[in-house]
């Protein structure tokens, strides 16, 4: 006998209901949430960077002892800005604290999506702050030009410095035997001798990928040649004679003295080149510098020293700190502010300094653990000069336009000055459209 099953209205409704119930049950009951420690919950969003390793390894456990339940969510640098901005603007409330890259502060500030931390009880006028670092937490900025619409607004502390960071020079002490090279010409000349002696493969290494990476690598060269980015009316002046000389040197001389694949180099390849013993010198933030003495992370432990960035006119580095902001949509706002107050206290900053990071409070600079050679050099660099990037909410676009043109010139190995002219025109056009003038 043949069995036949008819599709009836009743069977379809029963089946549909059954499926809906089963799905609901599976999603609500089937996947138990992992148990979390009880405490004052703070969800921290950060981009992956070696500069945060001491914080993760030493400070988070201390915070737990203080009763904070820290949830540390890391993402790749390239996606965090847009992800957090969308979170803050939509009020999604996925984070309590963002550890921003400092050039992003104006974008978040102009959109008015971060809490006023001054009103929350954090004192921005504390003399113990490193002045240039706390300045970056204000929107609109307390010093320098302001973008239209914010000329008369009162500066508000929307972010506080979290981990101090600035570019310094890392060099091979067996190649630069007389100490840190003082000028770019010396980096190249001595580096070539190191190559000839078979100690290294190339004198210098840097990041060449378009956008933020190449601009970050070019910036200290640009500053050391005496360049300025904008005038006080937001007109791009980076294509001045000094700027062009720096770009020509960067895409010409520096390219000829680095790895052949530098056009595609980002921080991972750059770090591998210096830690792997291929490169003679590098300008870098603390992320890779912190690995310089660890034989597990470098093939040339003991051969890497730190110094102030080389100069042509001045020895000025780019400052780029981790800076913390609390979104207005933070689900645990009070906990975040309490955590920040504890974190920026002189005592916790001293612990951060001991752990190897560059602190954000002046009093903690002297408390570096014995053998930490980076922090004293960072202080020297601060004294020699370190400048943040221009405080405009449109920095991401400016950096993109400039980065593309610099990257094209780097591929060609020439035409740095012309690239700056093209980029300056594009930046001017863009800022005109955005109502800057």
């Amino acid at each position: 006998m043949m069995h036949s099953s008819r599709l009836t209205r009743r069977s379809v409704i029963k089946g549909g209901l059954g499926l809906a119930l089963a799905t609901t049950a599976l999603t609500t009951l089937g996947l138990p949430m992992p148990a979390r420690a009880a405490g004052k919950k703070v969800i921290i969003g950060a981009f992956a960077d070696g500069g945060l390793t001491p914080f993760k390894e030493k400070i988070i456990p201390l915070a737990k002892e203080q009763g904070f339940d820290i949830q540390f969510l890391e993402d790749e640098y390239g996606v965090t800005l847009e992800k957090w901005f969308a979170d803050a603007q939509s009020g999604a409330g996925q984070y309590d604290l963002y550890l921003l890259d400092d050039p992003w502060v104006p974008q978040f500030g102009a959109a008015n999506v971060l809490e006023d931390l001054g009103a929350g009880g954090i004192d921005g006028s504390d003399k113990d702050w490193i002045g240039s670092m706390i300045d970056m937490g204000y929107w609109p900025p307390q010093k320098g030009p302001r973008v239209k619409g914010f000329e008369n607004a009162k500066p508000t502390l929307i972010c506080v410095p979290f981990v101090g960071d600035l570019q310094t020079l890392t060099y091979r002490n067996d190649v630069f035997t007389g100490g840190a090279p003082k000028t770019w010409d010396e980096v190249i000349a001595k580096g070539k001798e190191g190559v000839a002696a078979g100690k290294i493969k190339y004198p210098v290494v840097f990041r060449g990928v378009s956008g933020n990476p190449i601009v970050t690598s070019w910036y200290p060269v640009f500053l050391s040649f005496g360049g300025s980015f904008f005038d006080d009316k937001w007109n791009p002046i980076f294509n001045s004679a000094e700027g062009k000389a720096s770009a020509d040197f960067f895409v010409g001389t520096m390219k000829q003295n680095t790895a052949s694949g530098v056009v595609e180099f980002d921080s991972d390849q750059e770090g591998a080149a210096i830690l792997g013993g291929d490169a003679g010198a590098i300008i870098q933030y603390s992320g890779n510098a912190l690995k310089a003495d660890d034989p597990a992370q470098t093939k040339v432990a003991g051969k890497l020293d730190f110094g102030v960035v080389p100069k042509q006119e001045k020895a000025i580095a780019q400052m780029g700190i981790f800076i913390a902001g609390v979104p207005k949509s933070a689900p645990n706002k009070a906990n975040s502010i309490e955590f920040l107050k504890w974190y920026v206290s002189a005592e916790t900053q001293a612990k951060l300094s001991e752990a190897g990071s560059i602190p954000v409070k002046r009093s903690a600079f002297g408390i570096a653990k014995p053998g930490n050679r980076l922090i004293p050099v960072a202080l020297q660099q601060l004294d020699a000069g370190a400048l943040p990037r221009p405080r405009t909410p449109d920095w991401a676009k400016v950096e993109e336009l400039l980065g593309i043109e610099l990257n094209k010139a780097l591929q060609a190995g020439s035409g740095g000055g012309a690239a700056l002219d093209t980029a300056a025109k594009q930046v001017k056009d863009y800022l005109t459209t955005a109502g800057y003038y």
């Binding site: 209205r9 390239g78 800005l81 847009e82 901005f85 969308a86 603007q89 974008q107 102009a110 959109a111 008015n112 060449g208 990928v209 378009s210 956008g211 790895a259 052949s260 694949g261 530098v262 056009v263 595609e264 180099f265 390849q269 591998a272 080149a273 909410p393 449109d394 991401a396 676009k397 993109e400 593309i404 990257n407 094209k408 591929q411 955005a434 109502g435």
Partner: protein, 301 residues
């Protein structure tokens, strides 16, 4: 009397349920479509007519964003790169996919395993594919460089050279998506009637004649569908480029999807990005309609 009225009432209720049931059953689906398709589309269209500053709308600008697109050198470059990428990738995939489908049509020992192996690239997550190719292409520690150095050569520059990076991206896409073409075309070939082919063989037609006069003409509708589907899909390629090159070096691999993403999310020009995506949507729609018209013409002939 009472019983008769009740029976009539039940009949009417039954009829009402019969009338309403299809709509009731459609309602959840309709609500989902309205919520996740129609509303975002309408919202996107509305956003495309506005100017945004710092992530918020500040003014209605009508069609200004659409007009501005055509004088934006970066948009035009991205569009050109995308068109080149789609044309090259889809053409190669169609030819390779067809060749593989014809080959795998034959039954021989191991054919099932071969068919399975051939579709593996398609089922790997695009991001993983991009990471794999990054490991192959990287000039410092990539597989190609390692091979070249083992043979006494130097580093191989793929991602640092505009032309090589573009070709590298096409190769990645071809590797990943030829299996889709292959699968669609193999299904098409397997569904062709046997009689014309047997008749041709009886008449002594050679392989090329059979392919040119029978297989290809009969497969044209399937091929057209496969090409249209892949073209629409290729226009939206994002993950692989995002991981592999981020659009670089320079702007050599900056597809329209990457430019649109940056414009919308990184630079917060929401209205302009919406206009960009609507324009691209219309271009793809126009392509799809043209392909469908072409199909109908083929069917009619």
């Amino acid at each position: 009397m009472q019983t008769g009225m009740q029976a009539r009432k039940y009949r009417l209720q039954g009829a009402g349920l019969d009338l309403a049931l299809p709509y009731l059953m459609l309602a959840p689906g309709l609500m989902v479509v309205l919520g996740v398709l129609v509303y975002p589309l309408w919202d996107g269209l509305r956003a495309s007519t506005r100017a945004y500053r710092y992530g918020s709308p500040v003014a209605d600008v009508g069609f200004h964003n659409y007009v501005q697109l055509w004088s934006d050198a970066q948009f035009l470059n991205s569009l050109w790169v995308t068109v080149k990428f789609v044309a090259l990738s889809v053409s190669i995939e169609a030819v390779l996919g067809f060749a593989l489908a014809l080959f795998c049509l034959h039954e021989f020992r191991g054919i099932r395993l071969l068919r399975t192996v051939l579709i593996i690239p398609m089922v790997i997550t695009p991001v993983v594919v991009a990471i794999l190719f990054r490991l192959i292409y990287a000039s410092d520690a990539g597989m190609l460089t390692a091979l070249s150095e083992a043979m006494g050569g130097g580093g191989v520059q793929i991602l640092g050279n505009p032309l090589n990076a573009f070709i590298g991206l096409v190769v990645l896409d071809v590797w990943e998506w030829t299996p889709l073409m292959f699968l669609i075309l193999l299904a098409g070939l397997q569904s062709l009637p046997h009689e014309p082919f047997e008749a041709a063989r009886v008449d002594g037609a050679g392989s090329w004649r059979v392919f040119a006069d029978l297989t290809f003409p009969m497969m044209r509708p399937v091929l057209a569908i496969a090409i249209v589907l892949r073209t629409i899909d290729a226009f939206g390629t994002f993950d692989q480029v995002f991981v592999l090159t981020r659009g670089g070096p320079g702007e050599a691999t900056r597809l329209i999807s990457i430019y649109g993403y940056d414009t919308a999310f990184k630079f917060q020009q929401t209205g302009y990005a919406a206009a960009l995506f609507v324009t691209i949507g219309l271009v793809v729609l126009a392509l799809a309609f043209s392909a469908i018209r072409l199909l109908r013409r083929i069917d009619a002939s």
